[in-house]
């Protein structure tokens, strides 16, 4: 019975994958062989041209080098923004007075379209790597702040009391109870923040930079190299998909954490 279910599930999964593959293949073929009056070569390029551009750039290390720079910016942004969000979220969650003071301003800042801040950040931090990392950190900060804040607040009173009765200090309470209890929330934050971190990093690179995938996209476009632009974009797609996939694997491993707290 269970085995038959397993087989049906695999079949369905296979069918979905196959359909997706066929759709992509049809689109690529249509793109490749569409007449010039429909998709102008100059503006749209063709999959074959994008492919050879990609091979050429791969050979010269351009794609890998720029992808590494963008990825580094994303990871540093997640690290610093995440750390700041987690610390402030813990603080606000544990001290209601602090929450009252800072929650409103943080909510207000969250609502500001961050992209409008880039010119200001360029003035403050220049166009170098600092500006990219700081901007990415600011974008992901909010996800971590709100989820850790909620994680701490949703710890059942009974658990808090049980720990108080053992005479635990605040530092011990954070270490033993609040951080592990918020772990599931942090992973959700990471899942949400990951794509936004890429958006942030590439946005700053497109606006002002000397390297990175965003820079490659912009330079290709301004040199009317549409094949190069698509090649850089597909690389970006590939890198961000892999990153999100890795985070999802991590999330699945920790699913029990959240479910059991809610019970």
């Amino acid at each position: 019975m269970g085995r038959r279910n397993e087989i049906t599930r695999w079949r369905r999964k296979l069918a979905v994958r196959l359909t997706q593959f066929v759709i992509v293949a049809v689109l690529l073929l249509a793109w490749e062989f569409s007449p010039a009056w429909l998709l102008d070569d100059f503006l749209w390029s063709r999959p074959s041209a994008i492919y050879s551009q990609t091979l050429a750039w791969l050979a010269r290390g351009i794609l890998v080098g720029n992808a590494a720079i963008t990825l580094e910016c994303v990871l540093q942004g997640l690290l610093f923004g995440g750390l700041a969000g987690i610390l402030l979220g813990l603080f606000a969650g544990l001290r209601p007075a602090a929450a009252e003071l800072i929650n409103r301003p943080i909510e207000a800042l969250f609502a500001v379209p961050k992209i409008a801040l880039i010119p200001l950040f360029i003035l403050w931090f220049g166009i170098g790597v600092y500006q990219h990392v700081i901007f990415t950190s600011v974008v992901v900060f909010f996800f971590f702040f709100f989820s850790v804040y909620n994680g701490v607040r949703s710890v059942p009173v009974a658990l808090r009391n049980a720990l108080s009765m053992t005479g635990a200090s605040s530092a011990q309470a954070v270490h033993i109870l609040y951080l592990p209890a918020s772990l599931g929330w942090m992973i959700i934050a990471l899942r949400l923040a990951m794509p936004y971190a890429f958006v942030a990093a590439v946005s700053t690179e497109v606006i002002a930079s000397t390297s990175g995938l965003g820079n490659l996209v912009k330079n290709s476009a301004s040199m009317m190299n549409s094949a190069g632009m698509f090649s850089a974009m597909f690389t970006l797609l590939f890198v961000s998909m892999i990153s999100s996939g890795l985070v999802n694997v991590l999330a699945r491993k920790n699913r029990w954490n959240l479910e059991q707290l809610e019970e």
Binding site: N161, M165, T166
Partner: protein, 266 residues
């Protein structure tokens, strides 16, 4: 040595006379609702006292005060003659909620209080194993709370409370969420443990049978705001009546069957 002797004797005498827990004209208001009103209460060392009253009457608030988790608005709560201003680490607090950390296994949940006290890992694991044996959880050391039944989770939380050897137990309907069968098993075991360890117990319950079967003294509370209306001493005869009702009937026949079947425990 000689100089020490009289002080020790004196301390012993005061310890005998000093009630473990005292409430002196304690009142507490929650969200402008008076919950407790001039409560006068003394719990002698080694006694088992049950608080019985209608639900929502403020019993839990009273226990929270005894646990030092909250402070009275008026009056004072003394533990061994000292006002309780912070969580009472000499007392174990067992509630209807198991309050176990879901991401930890049985062993490290039980060892938690010792971990907080920064006891060496080998020592606390040894202590936890000893107490696991005592509450009958051998073989489940590395299970997570979600993998255990309600009765077993209750044992874990009892073990976690006992591991730091509290002199007093505060019980807030600890077995309320268990099925009748497991509840009775746990009541008996708890009673044996408290006698063996000479614990002072303050139990909150609305199960009259539970109160009579376990306590030496029952305190009846009014509806909110809770006041003490009557203090009843429970005699051995009362306990026997409760026990015998269980023993002579079909009830006990079925009970014995279930008890045999559940050697593995709740």
């Amino acid at each position: 040595m000689l100089a020490d002797a009289p002080t020790t004797a004196k301390r012993d005498r005061t310890a005998r006379e000093q009630p473990t827990l005292e409430f002196h004209s304690v009142s507490r208001t929650l969200a402008s609702l008076p919950v407790l009103q001039s409560i006068e209460l003394e719990v002698e060392c080694g006694s088992f006292v049950a608080l019985v009253g209608p639900s929502g009457c403020g019993k839990t608030t009273l226990l929270n005060l005894a646990a030092g988790l909250a402070q009275p608005d008026e009056g004072v709560v003394l533990y061994n003659g000292v006002p309780l201003l912070k969580p009472n680490t000499n007392a174990g607090y067992l509630t209807q909620d198991d309050a176990l950390l879901p991401w930890r296994d049985v062993l490290s949940n039980i060892a938690l209080p010792l971990e907080v006290k920064k006891v060496d890992k080998a020592v606390r694991t040894k202590a936890a194993r000893r107490i696991i044996q005592k509450v009958g959880l051998v073989g489940f050391e590395h299970h997570r709370p979600a993998q255990l039944s309600g009765g077993m989770r209750k044992r874990v939380s009892l073990a976690r409370t006992l591991i730091y050897q509290p002199a007093t137990l505060l019980l807030d309907e600890p077995f309320g969420a268990l099925d009748a069968q497991t509840r009775m098993l746990m009541q008996n075991e708890l009673l044996e443990l408290t006698r063996e360890l000479g614990l002072t117990v303050l139990l909150v319950t609305h199960d009259i049978g539970e109160a009579i079967a376990m306590a030496d003294r029952i305190i009846l509370l009014t509806a909110r705001p809770a006041r003490i209306v009557e203090v009843v001493d429970v005699s051995e005869a009362d306990k026997r009546d409760i026990r015998e009702e269980r023993e002579h009937t079909l009830f006990s026949h079925i009970w014995n069957h279930l008890a045999e079947q559940s050697q593995i425990r709740g």
